[in-house]
């Protein structure tokens, strides 16, 4: 990753285009499922969404493989796409914007409290 790419995220746009092209090649029901996976994974993204790229790649890879094997979306993801996405993103150390908000809040509260105490 070059400095320019870090700042502009231009490499992400390129990666995202590649994901879209791969998703285009999927059967209709798979493409719909992919849309849901993306929507469910979105909250796990950091500011640029860079941390999501490997996770999205894994999810899309599974859908591609399953489509080739001729499985139904139901057989692959079941009813609980949200649960699948949590498992996919979980443990990856995918820090979300929520984590940062929480930290910021904790820090501010701690600061206020220490001021009161001091």
């Amino acid at each position: 990753m070059t400095f320019w790419e870090t700042i502009t995220g231009s490499d992400l746009t390129r990666e995202w285009k590649a994901f879209e092209a791969r998703a285009e090649a999927l059967p209709d029901d798979y493409r719909a499922a992919w849309g849901q996976v993306v929507a469910h994974l979105f909250p796990y993204g950091d500011f640029t969404g860079r941390n999501l790229m490997p996770i999205l790649d894994a999810g899309l890879g599974l859908l591609e493989m399953a489509a080739v094997d001729g499985q139904s979306v139901q057989e692959v993801l079941g009813d609980d796409i949200g649960g699948f996405c949590t498992a996919l993103a979980g443990g990856e150390g995918a820090r979300t914007y929520r984590d940062r908000w929480r930290e910021q809040l904790n820090r501010n509260v701690a600061k206020k409290l220490s001021r009161l105490g001091g």
């Binding site: 591609e64 080739v68 692959v76 993801l77 079941g78 498992a87 996919l88």
Partner: protein
């Protein structure tokens, strides 16, 4: 048998380890094997997330092989840490199942 998912949750990882332990294999085949075993409602997505976890925890060796059709397949084999984890799983399973069976028998 339906609705086994909740009960299976803690043990499915061990089952997947056992399957990979006997031969190098891939996600779809593992799911099929579990289905044939009688765990009909295990879906590939579940197995896949278990495989990712095993990979992250350094218990498996992953090889990408071209699949003829479509993208390359990921094949999984146990490494040394994986074999150790599998042995631990069976020891725990032995403990839990023997205690539960004892409970059931003493209740009669």
């Amino acid at each position: 048998m339906d609705d086994l998912t909740e009960m299976l949750k803690g043990t499915l990882e061990g089952c997947v380890l056992e399957i990979i332990g006997s031969e190098e294999t891939y996600g779809y085949a593992i799911t099929r094997q579990l289905n044939e075993l009688g765990f009909a409602d295990v879906i590939e997505g579940t197995v896949y997330t278990i495989l990712l976890r095993l990979e992250r925890n350094g218990l498996v060796q992953v090889t990408k092989r071209p699949s003829g059709v479509g993208p390359p397949r990921k094949f999984y084999a146990l490494n040394e840490a994986g074999h150790e984890e599998l042995a631990k799983f069976w020891a725990k399973w032995q403990y839990v199942s023997s205690r539960i069976n004892r409970l059931k028998e003493s209740g009669r």
